[in-house]
């Protein structure tokens, strides 16, 4: 587990002393994110991140770190900006014309939004799994092999075969599909499709995997499999997962971040968030008063 820091970059409140609040539209937000959003050493760090869609601001001054091989869950009511935030981490929002991201986002100290950073190269390092399983209408093999082929990761067919096999094995899908790799990926069940998408994401060996509600379209059994998979993957990958399900956040993540209407209210160790939330908004959400 990564060490938390309390005194770098942004001054953080300590203990249970109620931090300074500001009232926006009748809601009391903490002036700075409560808990331990920042780490001593981090894989990715986000500072003063604002995201705008045209004139509308979707994310307000978010500061958070993601540690190496950590699973961080992002929870919050619908429309709170967690998906927007996660999509700005690998510049998926570049495709949305009106979207503007300001602030500093770094991956291993490199500025993600600098002109030197190639978004294509970035996405090879920061993979993404989407809400709805979205395999390509190609064979299972080609789905997984697509990324490695794009990035020239395999020079020979045998190498590619190996990448496909390890990726599918890691995604827990190999046993189920090894005899029908040439069949369309879209013919699999929903849960299998989502694991195929995870296999596709890890086939290019990203350093970070972003998951945007990966289980929201799946049944409980498929969900359980994906959650197991996340736990296993966290040994090798850094994972940020957006989820609607608090139970899921509690089961899979090390730290949990609570977003409320575009503001990052609280980040703490998962256990703490769900047993002793520090901010009343977090508490209201996890006790089910809204969301």
């Amino acid at each position: 587990m990564n060490k938390m820091v309390t005194d770098i970059a942004v001054e953080m409140p300590t203990g249970l002393v109620q931090p300074e609040q500001e009232n926006i539209d009748g809601i009391e937000y903490p002036k700075q994110t409560i808990g331990t959003p920042l780490l001593e050493s981090s894989k990715m760090s986000m500072r003063n991140v604002d995201v705008f869609y045209g004139d509308k601001q979707a994310i307000f001054n978010v500061n958070v770190d993601i540690g190496q091989h950590e699973v961080i869950a992002m929870i919050g009511p619908s429309g709170c900006g967690k998906s927007t935030f996660i999509r700005s981490i690998n510049r998926m929002n570049d495709t949305v014309e009106s979207c503007k991201v300001t602030g500093q986002l770094t991956l291993d100290g490199e500025d993600i939004y600098s002109t030197k950073m190639d978004p294509v190269a970035l996405r090879a390092r920061v993979g993404m799994v989407f809400q709805k399983p979205n395999p390509f209408p190609k064979s299972i093999y080609d789905n997984v092999a697509y990324g490695p082929r794009l990035h020239g990761l395999a020079s020979r067919r045998a190498e590619l075969d190996e990448i496909v096999e390890t990726s599918l094995t890691r995604a827990g899908l190999w046993a189920e599909v090894k005899d029908r790799l040439d069949q369309p990926g879209t013919g699999l069940s929903g849960g299998q499709q989502q694991r195929l998408c995870i296999a596709r994401a890890i086939a290019i060996s990203p350093e970070v995997i972003l998951m945007d509600e990966p289980c929201s379209a799946l049944d409980p059994i498929a969900t359980a499999k994906i959650e197991e998979l996340i736990a296993e993957l966290s040994q090798n990958y850094t994972i940020a997962i957006v989820t609607h399900s608090m139970q899921q956040a509690a089961r899979v993540s090390h730290r949990t971040a609570y977003f409320h209407l575009g503001r990052l209210v609280e980040v703490n160790e998962t256990e703490k968030v769900f047993t002793a939330p520090e901010h009343q908004l977090t508490e209201a959400y996890i006790t089910g008063r809204f969301g």
Partner: protein
């Protein structure tokens, strides 16, 4: 309370019955509409086919022909200059004269010689060139009958009675004599499929127009499909959203509704008068039809691109595909069936287009079958227009036959499109 409930249930029942009746009615409207459409198609096809099928047959008359060197006026069969000047129609006349010996008088003789088509002379020349030993020999040959005879012979025994326009009783008598001696025969009209246009209906063929259409469409497809798809991809995937792209979009949509003759005028002004592209050739026809089909192709291609699920794009971007790769690997293959449909609709439109081609001189009377993109040519619909305008009775059936060929062309193209689409279509999600 129970009473009230019951009456509510009854109310629902009766309203249900009403709804079902309305649904039934609606269904009937649909059936009626489709039945009406089918009926019209059937009537159209029956009319065209019943009028046109006879054009695929041609009346032939059997004659004993002597390749008389003195009548022909040649001495050497291998001398092409002599052959070109030789009077082959003269030996046809002689053959007719010896068949009907009792004909006298200038007018009667002219009528008699008119039994056989002017084209028969060329048939005889070709035979003599191929078999030089036939000179001064006699052989029995089937020769193409004149269109008046053809029309008359075909109409014998029809409900309306034989068509005797331009057929004097004397001529009818000759034909009847020939029929009696089994010297008249219907044969497959090979001229119709192998020749270009002609003033003589019995010699006129559709091949010139069909080849003209083919060359024109090849140009149109080769230009409008890549340009249209490229424009659609740019507008859908890469163009920024601003007033310029809005303006372009509005203009494209408007262009799709511009009367086609305007494109003809544009082609005349720009391609012919400014760029000096030769007139009446498939190249200029293809260019004009490209202008006309581009909006159709762009609009349908954009719709096809829009229909590609955004999740596929996201997936590709998510594994690090560049925007170009997203388009080439995912968007285009998935949109291709829709784009092809649009292209085929555009091509079908172009195939049936007459008005703009009139402006660029493709309405000319062209006898030679075009052999390339820069040979003067006409196209199928223009040929239909020209034949429908011709006074000879025999052109009526030619017109219908040409329509059949045009329809066959269309059906062929559509079938091809359906097959291509089926092969390219892939299921997703």
């Amino acid at each position: 309370m129970t009473n009230l409930n019951k009456s509510r249930a009854e109310q629902i029942q009766s309203s249900l019955a009403k709804r079902y009746r309305a649904e039934k009615r609606f269904q009937m409207y649909g059936y009626a509409a489709i039945a009406f459409g089918l009926l019209c198609v059937v009537i159209l096809f029956t009319d065209i086919v019943s009028k046109g099928y006879k054009a695929f047959g041609q009346t032939y008359i059997q004659l004993e022909v002597t390749y008389d060197a003195s009548t022909l006026g040649i001495t050497d069969v291998n001398d092409s200059q002599q052959l070109a000047l030789a009077d082959f129609h003269g030996i046809v006349k002689k053959a007719l004269k010896s068949r009907f010996t009792d004909v006298s008088g200038r007018k009667a003789k002219r009528d008699l010689y008119g039994l056989i088509s002017n084209g028969a002379g060329y048939t005889l020349r070709d035979r003599l060139v191929a078999n030089p030993e036939l000179l001064n020999q006699t052989e029995t040959l089937w020769l193409v009958a004149d269109d008046d005879i053809d029309t008359y012979y075909k109409s014998i025994g029809s409900d309306a009675g034989a068509f005797t326009g331009r057929m004097s009783e004397q001529r009818q008598g000759w034909v009847d004599q020939l029929v009696e001696s089994n010297d008249v025969e219907m044969r497959v009209n090979r001229n119709f499929f192998t020749q270009g246009d002609s003033r003589e209906p019995e010699l006129a063929g559709i091949r010139g127009a069909a080849m003209g259409s083919l060359f024109t469409l090849i140009i149109t497809l080769a230009l409008s499909f890549p340009i249209g798809v490229a424009a659609a991809v740019y507008l859908e995937e890469f163009a920024p959203c601003n007033r310029w792209t809005d303006l372009i979009e509005v203009n494209i949509n408007n262009l799709a509704a511009v009367p086609s003759i305007i494109f003809g005028l544009l082609g005349l002004a720009i391609f012919i008068n400014f760029f000096h592209v030769p007139r009446s050739v498939p190249v200029v026809g293809g260019l004009v039809l490209t202008l006309m089909t581009l909006p159709t192709i762009i609009i349908s291609s954009r719709a096809a691109i829009k229909a590609v699920p955004p999740s596929i794009r996201e997936a590709a971007i998510g594994v690090g595909a560049s925007p170009m790769q997203v388009v080439l690997h995912h968007v285009l293959p998935l949109a291709m069936p829709g784009m092809l449909t649009g292209a085929i609709i555009g091509m079908a439109q172009a195939l049936g287009e007459t008005a703009p081609l009139l402006m660029i001189g493709m309405v000319a009377f062209i006898v030679d079958v075009p052999g390339g993109f820069t040979d003067p040519a006409t196209v199928l619909p223009v040929q239909i227009f020209l034949w429908a305008d011709s006074p000879e009775r025999a052109f009526v059936e030619k017109t219908s036959a040409a329509i059949m060929v045009l329809l066959a062309f269309l059906i062929l193209m559509n079938t091809l499109a359906v097959i291509l689409r089926k092969r390219l279509e892939r299921r997703w999600l």
